[in-house]
Symmetry: D2
Subunit: 348 residues, 4 copies
Amino acid sequence: MIINMNEGATEQEIQHVIERVREAGFRAHVTRGTERCIVAAVGSGGKRHELEALAAAAGVAEVVPIAQPFKLVSRQVKPEGTVVDVGGVKIGDGSFVVIAGPCSVESREQIFSTAEAVKVAGARLLRGGAYKPRTSPYEFQGLGVEALRLLSEVRKHVGLPVVTEIMSTEDTDLICGHADMLQVGARNMQNFALLRRLASVKKPILLKRGPSASVKEWLLAAEYLLAGGNPNVVLCERGIKTFETEMRNTLDLAAIALARELSHLPVIADPSHGTGRRSLIAPTSRAAAALGADGIIVEVHPCPERALSDGAQSLDFSGFKAVMESLAEPLRAAPVSHHRINRTAAAN
Amino acid sequence: MIINMNEGATEQEIQHVIERVREAGFRAHVTRGTERCIVAAVGSGGKRHELEALAAAAGVAEVVPIAQPFKLVSRQVKPEGTVVDVGGVKIGDGSFVVIAGPCSVESREQIFSTAEAVKVAGARLLRGGAYKPRTSPYEFQGLGVEALRLLSEVRKHVGLPVVTEIMSTEDTDLICGHADMLQVGARNMQNFALLRRLASVKKPILLKRGPSASVKEWLLAAEYLLAGGNPNVVLCERGIKTFETEMRNTLDLAAIALARELSHLPVIADPSHGTGRRSLIAPTSRAAAALGADGIIVEVHPCPERALSDGAQSLDFSGFKAVMESLAEPLRAAPVSHHRINRTAAAN
Amino acid sequence: MIINMNEGATEQEIQHVIERVREAGFRAHVTRGTERCIVAAVGSGGKRHELEALAAAAGVAEVVPIAQPFKLVSRQVKPEGTVVDVGGVKIGDGSFVVIAGPCSVESREQIFSTAEAVKVAGARLLRGGAYKPRTSPYEFQGLGVEALRLLSEVRKHVGLPVVTEIMSTEDTDLICGHADMLQVGARNMQNFALLRRLASVKKPILLKRGPSASVKEWLLAAEYLLAGGNPNVVLCERGIKTFETEMRNTLDLAAIALARELSHLPVIADPSHGTGRRSLIAPTSRAAAALGADGIIVEVHPCPERALSDGAQSLDFSGFKAVMESLAEPLRAAPVSHHRINRTAAAN
Amino acid sequence: MIINMNEGATEQEIQHVIERVREAGFRAHVTRGTERCIVAAVGSGGKRHELEALAAAAGVAEVVPIAQPFKLVSRQVKPEGTVVDVGGVKIGDGSFVVIAGPCSVESREQIFSTAEAVKVAGARLLRGGAYKPRTSPYEFQGLGVEALRLLSEVRKHVGLPVVTEIMSTEDTDLICGHADMLQVGARNMQNFALLRRLASVKKPILLKRGPSASVKEWLLAAEYLLAGGNPNVVLCERGIKTFETEMRNTLDLAAIALARELSHLPVIADPSHGTGRRSLIAPTSRAAAALGADGIIVEVHPCPERALSDGAQSLDFSGFKAVMESLAEPLRAAPVSHHRINRTAAAN
């Protein structure tokens, strides 16, 4: 159950609701937004009808029953979509935001040339890894602080806000000083210590879906962020693990529509990791747009063959330009036609 | 290796190539199309350079090396897309063909009213099950011959060619007498006895991907049909099994683009089975169109709550109309914009 | 609901029960065993309490409510395990039956030498493929009738009953004339036309689990056989498809214990297909025994490197002997020890 | 390539090898054990033959080529199995170690009574969660520091070393002060920041396999610990995510045998999480023993119905005792029998 308070609800009214929630046998989880306050009654075994009665209490706008285990991220609680502001770029406002850049920041030349190329082609945000989660300890792990400084610089020069991944709670302040949006990688989607830490930062979070996380688990990971106080979360579908071997992952495009149905948070797709195949990036990006995604995040590198990570799925500059152009093409021959049926005639 | 013969190649020239293929240590697999003949050299351990030398033989147009295990379905062998004619409706010609109808034929009234409604809304082909593959022996198994007769009737009255599923080799002649296209269901994708039988019929085949089949295995199932003499195959992605529980299956939309890249056969999507959720049919249908699919197949029922099978994922008539209309809407805000970068200025 | 009739129930009593089941709004599914008759009330929407009242009807032994969708295979209906007789060898009687032999029958010499070797090492049944389900139409498809004749011969000479796969309803009579047990392969687990045909044969069936079938779906496939009149079914777990790449499949060993809990049918394991790795056959066979499996089926070939199919997972004769010996070894150091706790003493 | 140095190799000899590794185009990764030093040459593109030549260098015992991406965990590098000492209890020495206790520490009474019961029944180590990774932020998250103190106490009183989960790098020192072994949970298997931190602690690590991690990825996670300096790692298989719904996860028992084949590290199984079904714990524990596992970890609670987490899969005290007893039972009827074949006689 969610108790939405009125905009002008007083502190006293809020406290009264909290007490009644506890008396009914639930824990009260309070989220104070800039405009209004939400009290979530969580737990099982309490008396639901006592909560329903709160609809009549002073200061209460409405009481919303939530069947799903996630509350604050639910579209039932907040029917209108959330718009997340990333350094001035809005995600979730109806536009289609393209985030592009190299898997890893490798050098000043690499990140500057890429930032310029993707901006010219239409990207609105720049991605670039400073700390890389690598399956093997012997693989390139990112340039770390040096990469963060380069990202700060290129942001000023080219004018694109920057997204980069955070892997450790200890790096939080450092990365917040350089980036406009912090990415939680797929392998860390259920790193709850990290989620709790990021719930308290002022920067928006890009939350990737884990490779074997269900849509519910993904939304519950986002719930950690919202419940902890950070409402600025963008969801990112990046492919799940299946038995298929021709693609690196199975990009679960339908999950974009499902996440948008269940939640008010913006959703984007990562076709680079999701397919691992350069040739599939344009068609799956178009599919994401068709499904109502709020954007995509793609890997672009000046020379993919020489990339220190993820070369096989990275686009070069002309490849990225082609993807952007394909996004502007209309859908295949609209099928609607208006036949008339003359049943009597047909029967003859 | 594939040896494409010239259009005017003589039988003698073809026989010469076949002999040489065998001498080189391969089996020769001959497909005689209406216009030209293709000799596939299959097996391993033969002398590849002897095959390459055949490029110079009389009547040979070209010798194409094929790395993939599938040969005749490969786009390497036939770069232009195949167009399959289903009772006059072309699949693969650049249009987006919508196949619609009930999961099962349940009554004359049901199939006639559905056929009329879907035709008016823009469907080009009618689907309807006569024999239903059911997980439990106690579930409704379809009306069988009675359903086939109703399909024949409704085809004449409404003027839509008919697609229906075949489950048993023994029903082949019967179903060919009533339907315009035979569907091989997902559970039968690797029913090789059935594939071999259908390779010899004159009707086109709709080949659904198995719920745990890789794209390669799917194309190899199609290869059984082509290798056996039936070139009229349409592939259908219908969702794979994963750990996700909110959707009936995971519709592998990216596989549509991959199948089109690897094969010249038309590809359609089945968003009804692929998602099992009525609300996801419109967005995933749009995504299929964005990925270059040649069409979709969707379940429509006059009253989904009363359907004898698959009610939860069936559209009613107005729901189907809405899906058709959504297919005509443009993609979300095209993102391309042409910023100019003034690097010096930005640095100030 | 299942209505178990008394052993001596008359035809009249049975018919009365059937009528009452129908009046209550269910379909009546009657299975006449050699000793007693079972009436299953299937369908939903009927009046359950009217069925319960049948406990008092003449000739009725008991009325058993079944929550699961499978009825006749359920251990609720028949608590004692079923024993299946395969040419005199009992599966399910508490012994551990090893079925061994080549993936495919390739020659007289190959099948005779293998049959002798596996018999000497302790195998009780001989496996050998005559018709092979192959992913590609260009792979070796089995020797067909010639292989069946060789199996008949070797059975007489060596004295091992024979198991072989059936892929097509049309081969039923032919294969029944040569084999003691018919195998339904994993890809055909939901080939319902085949299941229906095999429900009417007198030979026992080895039903492999499909690579993406849940345990419930597997049991429902067995239900087709029992409901159609063939009670002699042995279940075989042979590995499911997952994301793992080091093994051909993921052998779902725990499913053996689950299937035995839910059903009275015997269950065996196929570690050869289940792992695809020769080195894992001995340990997983031991695990199957530890889980209560009634046996295993393993691939053995005189010279695995030269096998026409499945060489990588086949054992040679000495490898098979080693697997048999490992099955006789005790479990690792039994952990039970009886410590005494002197809580006061420990606190000092 | 791995260069194993002699036990008495001098620092100068080690430095020489390191320099030559770098000259050959690789990075040198040095692990100094208590007895001898290992230099791993990692990276690609270097000159392998120059490394091979190092076999002749002073102080070098042998040069071992490693095909797998993991090096230090590989059985190729260290053929004999590793024995890990956990507060005096040896894992990997050929015995079968049972770790038991509640999912979460809930109260003094609960953890004391459980510790005593499991010790009497034969458990060698006590498990108990202080910090719980929970899918939802609203679920019970563990008692934290209070639980750690109770674990310290109960360890002294009952005399069982303690295993507990660590979720955050920031808790490292605190938990090391209370526990004998630190568990990395399945969701954190690729939390590389945590792995790097735990590589430097003196306590042994229990590394659970991620629910969608391949065996290779699991071993590479262990490689992070060994490469960072902590050789005391025990692997734990706890079930992977598949499409199956009757069990919480699919316990990948065959992976135990595979991990033991590929690596020298001890491997245990977690049948509680792996199956999520109380009735399957005894048979899957026996299977783990049959596969050569070095032990199991199981959940035991005084009153599973009232457990704050994982009640459905927890054993009560008598259930745990029954599991321990089942581990002492012999394998099912050993199948080996030595038939003699008289081929001539059989032919008559």
